[in-house]
């Protein structure tokens, strides 16, 4: 058996599996999107019908807000944890990375425990503060699973930063704040963009959290779900899936070319 043939045999299971369960289904999905009553115009409908357009806008806005907030919080915490050694650091780090493997449904439930009708906030302040089912609840839920993803990316990048650059800046008389502004943040730049893209893509595609929380929030994944299951509008569900998939895929491609890492999407 020649070496080249052996390598082909090694690759064969992967080729068969991804052809049968990835390439062909995706092709089918694409065909399904244009086989509906409106044909190719289905993609036009997404921007023309207020229901889809507003869902799209809402999803983008929530995702943007989550991305910005997660970047601020996680960069602050990540820099702090990467640059300081103290008792309890490991515990804090574990807590901050714990939600990485929580499915979106669990995150949704945790937000209900925090801000639902019987939630903690509502119990502490009996002014009937219920936010779990609103856009703010959704925002908090997305933030919950975005913080660890951004944190890990930022910390990995911080470890790679040359400490001597900071020490050089300090030796030239820069204050700690100036060092952060002039040395650390520019150094982290590409990783921050990458982390942001990961957070944004994850939030765009998140289904479980919205599913658990949703009473009346129309985010894109929920619209796809209801189009498919309730309205049986398969062409529209497929078209929306393809648009969503293309957006998240493009974003993660950018993220990967900038930082070389991808933290699991999902949630």
């Amino acid at each position: 058996m020649t070496n080249q043939r052996f390598l082909l045999i090694c690759l064969l299971p992967l080729l068969i599996f991804s052809l049968a369960f990835l390439a062909l289904p995706l092709m089918r999905l694409f065909l399904a999107s244009v086989e509906g009553a409106s044909g190719w115009a289905v993609y036009l409908e997404i921007i023309q019908k207020p229901r889809y357009l507003s869902a799209l806008m809402q999803t983008v806005l929530v995702s943007l807000a989550v991305t910005a907030t997660a970047l601020v919080i996680s960069t602050t915490a990540g820099l702090f944890l990467a640059r300081n050694r103290f008792a309890g650091r490991g515990v804090l780090l574990s807590i901050l990375t714990l939600p990485l493997a929580f499915p979106g449904v669990v995150v949704g439930f945790l937000i209900i425990l925090l801000g639902g009708r019987q939630g903690l906030v509502n119990q502490l302040t009996p002014g009937h503060v219920v936010f779990a089912y609103s856009t703010f609840g959704l925002f908090l839920g997305y933030l919950y699973f975005s913080i660890p993803r951004v944190l890990l990316t930022v910390m990995a990048a911080t470890e790679k930063l040359d400490r001597e650059l900071e020490e050089a800046a300090r030796s030239l008389g820069a204050s700690p704040f100036t060092v952060v502004r002039d040395v650390i943040l520019p150094g982290l730049g590409p990783s921050l963009v990458a982390a942001g893209a990961i957070a944004f893509a994850t939030a765009m595609g998140a289904f479980g959290t919205a599913f658990t929380l949703a009473t009346n929030i129309d985010v894109l994944p929920m619209v796809i779900y209801t189009e498919f299951t309730l309205s049986a509008n398969i062409a529209m569900a497929s078209a929306l899936s393809i648009v969503l998939g293309l957006v998240t895929w493009a974003l993660l491609l950018i993220a990967r070319s900038l930082s070389g890492t991808t933290v699991a999407a999902g949630g």
């Binding site: 058996m1 369960f21 289904p25 804090l92 449904v105 658990t212 974003l251």
Partner: protein, 263 residues
């Protein structure tokens, strides 16, 4: 450690973020162990909710474990040889293939599930069997296995090690078993723990692919959140935490170890 205002601020934000992530999780654990959550912990602690969950949802726990292990076997069989082949031929074709099989990381699970349903939904025997869910899980976890192994293989001097084995008389298959697999072990281990952790927690794909008779743990969770009292939902979440947290810890340990090797 010198305390500057900046450091205090950083610490405060870090602690706030920790509280945000930890408080609801603790609440959930407490709620699962409290006799009556509305009256508070003062109503006493109990294991009866856990017992109740076990009666209602034990099947889903076992199904999830079974799925995760099957998924692990599949990703090893498909992923490890493929990673080796990709590492041996680092050209643009390999890059494109790697990018293609990584699509399930980027494309939302919902979209993938729709795609699978439309192509295979009419094949009744397949559609209603657990292997349909397995396909979804393998699809989603495979890129993690391939990349994890690939990273380790790219870091060791695979070419020379293999040439060494070849001059000693080892053919392709023997080299793969004796040299490639043992030296890729850290990557396989990290990949395996990631696969199991993600498979047990997978919801987005599974929710679309499951049938009423095949509920995985997260699907059962969603079901309990919608229809059970808060204590039962919390107790069920607690069971999930007990399973996932050690796995997550092991996964992070193994990934760090594999990364140190690749560095």
């Amino acid at each position: 450690m010198r305390f500057s205002i900046i450091k205090v601020l950083q610490l405060a934000i870090t602690l706030l973020a920790c509280a945000f992530l930890l408080v609801p999780a603790i609440q959930s654990v407490l709620a699962g162990l409290t006799v009556n959550y509305f009256k508070g912990v003062s109503s006493g602690l109990t294991l009866k909710w856990l017992w109740k969950v076990w009666e209602l949802y034990a099947d889903s726990v076992f199904l999830s474990i079974w799925l995760a292990l099957s998924c692990l076997v599949c990703t090893i069989i498909i992923g490890v040889p493929a990673a080796y082949a990709l590492a041996k031929n680092p050209g643009w074709i390999s890059r494109i293939l790697e990018e293609f099989i990584s699509l399930p990381l980027a494309v939302p699970g919902l979209a993938l599930a729709l795609a699978l349903l439309q192509l295979y939904g009419t094949m009744q025997g397949f559609r209603t069997s657990w292997s349909f869910i397995l396909v979804g899980h393998v699809l989603y976890t495979l890129p993690f296995m391939v990349r994890s192994v690939l990273a380790v293989l790219a870091a060791i001097d695979l070419k020379t090690l293999e040439e060494g084995a070849a001059t000693l008389g080892a053919g392709s298959l023997r080299r793969f078993c004796d040299v490639v697999v043992p030296n890729a072990m850290p990557g396989i281990l990290a990949g395996a723990l990631t696969v199991v952790t993600l498979s047990i927690g997978e919801f987005n794909l599974t929710w679309m692919l499951h049938t009423p008779y095949l509920k995985t743990l997260p699907v059962g969770l969603a079901d309990s959140y919608a229809s059970m009292r808060l204590e039962i939902a919390s107790a069920y979440t607690l069971i999930f935490f007990v399973m996932i947290v050690p796995l997550l810890t092991a996964m992070q340990w193994a990934s760090n170890r594999a990364q140190r090797i690749s560095a």
